[in-house]
């Protein structure tokens, strides 16, 4: 087992996890749990499902940590978000398949309720409008924009997560921003 006190970088943590180091796993989970939760929540729009997906991401990481190979420029965060994105996509597909007939806006409502603490009413309304619209734009545009704006991933990293070309990423983000800016203009 690795000496935990010397473990700092994500790659070192993953290697330690691959050797069965639970503390390294806890540390990695602490580092990414909220970022993953917020990405998944904004992507699928349901907090309960987002929590389950986030947990599943970490379980997959634990089981597959020994497979992670340090490739040039490869980042653990990219790997984490790729798993989160794939699981979220599966969750959305599952929901569409089984809940197609239900007009379920629970996610939107939850999103609106949770913005109550925001100070300015004008800003709150703008956030509500943009976040609501975010849930309506195509899924790949939404994922690309969230990974760029909230997670600050580069286009290349996003292309790895979404498994598409860098130019496609550029186009998705451009379209997503163009769509959302209409609400800013109205505001």
């Amino acid at each position: 087992m690795n000496n935990f006190s010397s473990v700092n970088s994500d790659v070192e943590l993953i290697k330690a996890i691959g050797n069965g180091d639970h503390k390294a796993f806890e540390r990695l989970a602490d580092r990414y749990k909220n970022a993953l939760l917020n990405f998944v929540y904004r992507y699928i729009g349901d907090m309960s499902a987002a929590q389950e997906v986030t947990q599943e991401v970490f379980l997959r990481i634990y089981k597959a940590a020994y497979k992670f190979k340090e490739i040039e420029n490869a980042k653990v965060s990219t790997w984490l978000f790729k798993i989160a994105y794939n699981l979220s996509m599966n969750e959305l597909k599952r929901r569409k398949r089984y809940l197609r007939l239900l007009n379920d806006h629970a996610g939107e409502k939850e999103m609106v309720d949770r913005t109550q603490a925001f100070e300015s009413i004008e800003n709150r309304e703008l956030i509500e409008a943009v976040m609501s619209e975010l849930s309506l734009i195509p899924e790949n545009q939404r994922a690309a924009l969230l990974l760029r704006v909230n997670q600050e991933l580069s286009y290349r990293e996003i292309s790895e997560v979404l498994n598409i070309s860098v130019s496609s990423v550029e186009m998705l983000i451009f379209r997503a921003r163009r769509h959302l800016k209409q609400h800013i203009n109205r505001g």
């Binding site: 069965g20 639970h22 796993f25 806890e26 989970a29 602490d30 749990k33 909220n34 939760l37 917020n38 929540y41 904004r42 907090m47 929590q51 986030t54 947990q55 970490f58 379980l59 634990y62 089981k63 949770r114 913005t115 603490a117 925001f118 800003n123 703008l126 956030i127 943009v130 976040m131 975010l134 924009l145 969230l146 760029r148 704006v149 909230n150 580069s154 286009y155 550029e170 983000i173 451009f174 921003r177 163009r178 959302l180 800016k181 800013i184 203009n185």
Partner: protein, 135 residues
């Protein structure tokens, strides 16, 4: 460069994903084009809104629950290893036993009684005749 081309690049410009010469072109254009500058501000505001939207934390017991799941996963893997350790030799023995049985079935055997009608010392003659025929 026309405003239309500039606006198509504004998103990548915000993200600093343009080539340096493209980025410089956009910067120069923005210096003297209020419409494109305004369009840039609106796009930047989209990002600001997304960054100002409320962030959530995992529930208090998330880590505890996660580590519990990990313990279950680890123990089930360990149990599986122990089971494999105990049953692997037994599995190997059974596999070998049935392989042997199957291989014996493929032999065509005959009792000595079946050869009793042949004249004495004819077996060698028959054997060598068969060998010659194969050649």
């Amino acid at each position: 460069m026309k405003c239309r081309n500039i606006r198509e690049n504004l998103s990548a410009y915000i993200d600093e994903e343009l080539y340096p010469d493209q980025s410089e072109n956009v910067t120069q254009h923005l210096l003297h084009c209020p419409e494109c500058s305004s369009a840039l501000e609106v796009l930047q505001k989209v990002d600001t809104v997304l960054n100002n939207a409320p962030l959530y934390s995992v529930p208090a017991k998330f880590s505890e629950k996660l580590m519990h799941e990990i313990d279950i996963t680890s123990s089930s893997t360990e149990n599986l290893n122990i089971i494999n350790l105990i049953f692997a030799p037994i599995k190997k023995f059974i596999l070998n036993f049935f392989t042997l049985i199957e291989s014996l079935k493929s032999f065509k055997t005959a009792t000595l009684d079946e050869f009793s009608d042949f004249p004495p010392c004819s077996m060698g003659y028959i054997y060598f005749n068969l060998i010659d025929q194969r050649k």
